[in-house]
Symmetry: D2
Amino acid sequence: MKNRKELRIGLVGCGFMGRTHTNGYKRVSDFFPALTHTPVLKAVCARNAEKVKAFADQWGYESTETDWKHLVARKDIDAIDICTPNDFHAEIAIAAAAAGKMILCEKPLARDLAESQRMVDAIEKAGVKNTVWYNYRRLPAVTLAKQIVDSGKLGRIFHYRANFLQDWTINANLPQGGEGLWRMDAAVAGSGVLGDLLSHCIDTAMWMNGGIKDVTAMTETFVKERMHQLTGKVEKVSIDDACAILCHFNNGSLGVFESTRYARGHKALYTFEINGANASIRWDLHDLNRLEYFDNADESKVKGWRSIHVTDGDHPYMDKWWVPGLGIGYEHSFVHQVADFLKSLETGEPCSPTFTEAHETQKVCQAVLDSAVSGTWKNTGIKN
Amino acid sequence: MKNRKELRIGLVGCGFMGRTHTNGYKRVSDFFPALTHTPVLKAVCARNAEKVKAFADQWGYESTETDWKHLVARKDIDAIDICTPNDFHAEIAIAAAAAGKMILCEKPLARDLAESQRMVDAIEKAGVKNTVWYNYRRLPAVTLAKQIVDSGKLGRIFHYRANFLQDWTINANLPQGGEGLWRMDAAVAGSGVLGDLLSHCIDTAMWMNGGIKDVTAMTETFVKERMHQLTGKVEKVSIDDACAILCHFNNGSLGVFESTRYARGHKALYTFEINGANASIRWDLHDLNRLEYFDNADESKVKGWRSIHVTDGDHPYMDKWWVPGLGIGYEHSFVHQVADFLKSLETGEPCSPTFTEAHETQKVCQAVLDSAVSGTWKNTGIKN
Amino acid sequence: MKNRKELRIGLVGCGFMGRTHTNGYKRVSDFFPALTHTPVLKAVCARNAEKVKAFADQWGYESTETDWKHLVARKDIDAIDICTPNDFHAEIAIAAAAAGKMILCEKPLARDLAESQRMVDAIEKAGVKNTVWYNYRRLPAVTLAKQIVDSGKLGRIFHYRANFLQDWTINANLPQGGEGLWRMDAAVAGSGVLGDLLSHCIDTAMWMNGGIKDVTAMTETFVKERMHQLTGKVEKVSIDDACAILCHFNNGSLGVFESTRYARGHKALYTFEINGANASIRWDLHDLNRLEYFDNADESKVKGWRSIHVTDGDHPYMDKWWVPGLGIGYEHSFVHQVADFLKSLETGEPCSPTFTEAHETQKVCQAVLDSAVSGTWKNTGIKN
Amino acid sequence: MKNRKELRIGLVGCGFMGRTHTNGYKRVSDFFPALTHTPVLKAVCARNAEKVKAFADQWGYESTETDWKHLVARKDIDAIDICTPNDFHAEIAIAAAAAGKMILCEKPLARDLAESQRMVDAIEKAGVKNTVWYNYRRLPAVTLAKQIVDSGKLGRIFHYRANFLQDWTINANLPQGGEGLWRMDAAVAGSGVLGDLLSHCIDTAMWMNGGIKDVTAMTETFVKERMHQLTGKVEKVSIDDACAILCHFNNGSLGVFESTRYARGHKALYTFEINGANASIRWDLHDLNRLEYFDNADESKVKGWRSIHVTDGDHPYMDKWWVPGLGIGYEHSFVHQVADFLKSLETGEPCSPTFTEAHETQKVCQAVLDSAVSGTWKNTGIKN
């Protein structure tokens, strides 16, 4: 431990994601002892001074700030971690890049394609290390899925389908906007389930199956008006409560994606399935240590979907944890992303997904929103 | 038994569906003894004289025909059951209606909307009893789902999603057309997975959730050319190997449908899910005696999807079979449809789905094909 | 059909099992057309004249009897099928054997070991064809399990475990004895869940894994007294409501069996699992078309329990039914047993399980009851 | 954080359990900020100086010891956490009690009943705070099961069944004894799967369902001889590779327990089920965030096992973690046990299971071993 290089973290935002990221920083060295770098919780920043102090006290940050510009200006910070609502991602990231800081930005990268383009321009100009927290990639079962795809076991891909189903906004009396509910305010979030949930699905999909060429989509806002927490008035709801997408991947396969916060009975049911000529894979976030795999090469009479409990020492990341059969949780995806980021400092390789890669996801999201308005197919402009 | 009125059946076609229907006729009186009518296997018709005789011998038909026009002309036949490939549905049905026969037609009703319109016109003009074999409605778990929806337990409906996934045509060496493979020949079948598989999904969906207002869709033919069994030549494949649909129902809910014969690992995975404000339902043909149900009114700490084994005496149709826990199979859906058809002879009520109802499904299918060509949303013209 | 030899059936008993057997006789020729024999429903016998006539009328028996001795004496009957409560099995079987009839006897073979010994003696002396309706063997998934075991894929066997869980007698107000409830009367049934449910588990277990050497067991009667339907009095309940067994198989593996009618939530949950050095198998009656299989030879990272949907044409019996993915039901196990019995008439081979084999199951049951009384291990006397 | 009282930990042993406990100490204050106490990693002790220094460095212990007697003698230690192999539990615990230290002892408490009796005597005499790490109680789904039982929802209990199935010792070439394999050496471990795995099942069972009155059991050692790592010789294996138990609980319900390390395909499949007159519960460690619950009071037609994803804010411990739908892992059970231990310092209540409670589990284990030898039922001597 003593000889590790420090990565001094300045965190902006202390909500749900502030907690998951911080937990990642605090645990990584216990479980990934071979890394040459170790995070140090230098400072946390949020507008509410009392809240940020309580957060720093609970989690062990050395100092606090209430103005992110001060944080970005500090010499004792190596990396800015952006956990704010989406409307601050671009401004902070661009300033941090200009200040030569590494940047770890919560997803989605931006509210729209113009914003994310500016962010990409900024980090490219500054040449700073960067990554975006599409954390689900780093759940062992999802990483294993990627390894299986990359192994070529699936053969030609025909289909990719993914859903992300929730039910927490069905109640029409739930207000929108403000503390804890900014995800329901389009001005802050950029979009609804598209940016919040489908962006995860799209990130995973393109990581595994390559670029999405074109899309057609529908969006719906089931509850048209809600009380806004900040104005105290009943206002029009502008986010998408639900969004469904048909698409073509550049490799010729078909995609179907659906997300909603109105699927009664589902809390965070992110599922995906990929069908190839020779094999198929499927996964479910509610049983996150498991991957299902069908291999058509199995002997005919005993062929069937295999339920792989992804907890063995030869499964991705799992040599770092316990023993076979003992599952890990959601939060470990963030620990793994921190570990991979630290590793990338050693190797000099990018830590995927970079801003540039996350910008591709923004291209799909933009095409989806455009298609939902026009009712026609939209090209994403993605080439690979 | 002895006092029952006879329903004298003339079956056209002796393939897979000829077997399922015949089995339905032969079993119904054993298990539904209170019915006042009983089917009699009067005649079976197919072009191949040897084959039709073997079929009649195996299943117990009293006589055979090789020309369906002779069958339709017979005075000792009350009902014509059409199990031919799709390209004969219209011609036979229209002739049978003109001859005053009842008609039980295999699904999809027709190859296209124009055909099904002519069929509806014919049965309306003739005033003959009719039904279409969308058999999955009559699996007890599916009928239970319908009862739950009708009970109002779900509240406002937000989402309907259904898939029908198979994998039997992935092999590019599989020929198309002719004996056993006419479903891959667009000239005969009208369409591919749309008419064969999605038509079931659409029938169930509109039965439970009302009319579909508009659609956007994509279709794909993964293997572009195959040897045609009848011509012996490699020919262009014109059916849809896969089809996915986004739609709005007239009640404001959103629908997502997908079907393919290229989903490696799935044999006949028909699944549907419906999400309401208060409750949700889902079902899976591979575990067909089970219905999953989520009721948001359950006490919070012990709330969860209920796995209902639909084998109790108070479940639809199940008082006719065995004892709780002992499942029935696919074929029973046909027995139930026969029972319901016989019952409708007693009551004078229509036996749903009628030609008129199945024609609504054809409207959706037509809009899907049109949308897949134009890349735009298409109205179905369905009002309720 | 016309050239088939007739097997003229005389059925004794027209309850639940009378229906399942009769359905088997009526369907077998439709689905197994290559058989050279075909059953004919010659006569059904039950004490209640009205009931037996109604049954004969519903199912199509040519004639009825109210005294089984008359039935056994009839020259136009080839085979006696015994579906009575257990207390008549021995008497009827012995008389039928003496009359030179083939015998198909419902399980358990007898109420106790002395009875079954006399039955075995009788059929051996008479040299008549015989079988016992341990029908679950003939569900395709169970037969597939047997084939896998016989293939040697499992290697040395370490463990066998089976449960048969029900919940239908929890209500203390349920009467015992008489019509529909004779299974709760020890004088008629011989035992409770042991003979009714565990006998199935033991039959399957020894079929797959060889003889059981010794046992220790516990039985329990949770509701000590119930109104007896025949006497109208509250009487002591003498059957076992629950029974659990530890045992050694002759091959050195360990067995654990449990059955109860007090497992709230389970209707007929017969499950078994067998663990070998190289592979394991498990099965569940509530999802009866599926077999789970784990093969340790699978590549390490993608190893997992395979969920085999046993509905393909190369699965046992399934070439006779529909197409892949379309499940069959409980009743089909009886159709298969009829088919195998008819086949055994062609080949001259025994139709397993014979009385002699079912007598081995009785030996285990007897040792279980003895052990439950003594509290010690009991040898079964089974050698292989 | 700053005002919390310190609980200065001295850990003995730095293997698998040393890691799980340490992780618990390090995370508790982040997630349970309202606690008034906080653990401090004062010292870790192990015989191998190099290893213990590496462990201390990785995990952040302030100091190391190589002789546990030195650790116990230190004035700056409040609590001794015993993570050694089982053969040191008694000696260390008794010395620690004499030194007035609190004790947190890994399970099973002891190798045999005589040892655990001496340990109980020691802590009673010393009056020191104590607990035993039967961690599975503190998985949220298991705690929820306990809450449901305590609520009375189940009514009279009829059945309890639990399995703990593994497959990691099937290979006959695996050596026994020594580093990483002391669990296979009876002299060190006391017993095999009984103490290692079944003790968990018994602890959970008696916690939920009260005392076990008597037992009958069988044990088996499948591989009779293995190379011993410490002697380098092939020696007799004395542990139980497998163990199965029948028992009566004091409340009149029946128990069936089975454990093995020879169940191919299962890594750590701890499952339990409890059946009451009104409701039932079951759970599975391989899907640890889920509890299944059947409530017979549900409306008949829609009754079924509920699959509860135990990740809502009103589920045990879950308000401390993330948001609904996002599961936690195995290790969190230890965090929860630390939290509950710290809470018990505030309240002065015992932290269950105490040595006294764990001694009850030892009574059952002793009776099991005795019964396995004698082949007869053994009373446990447990009264409640």
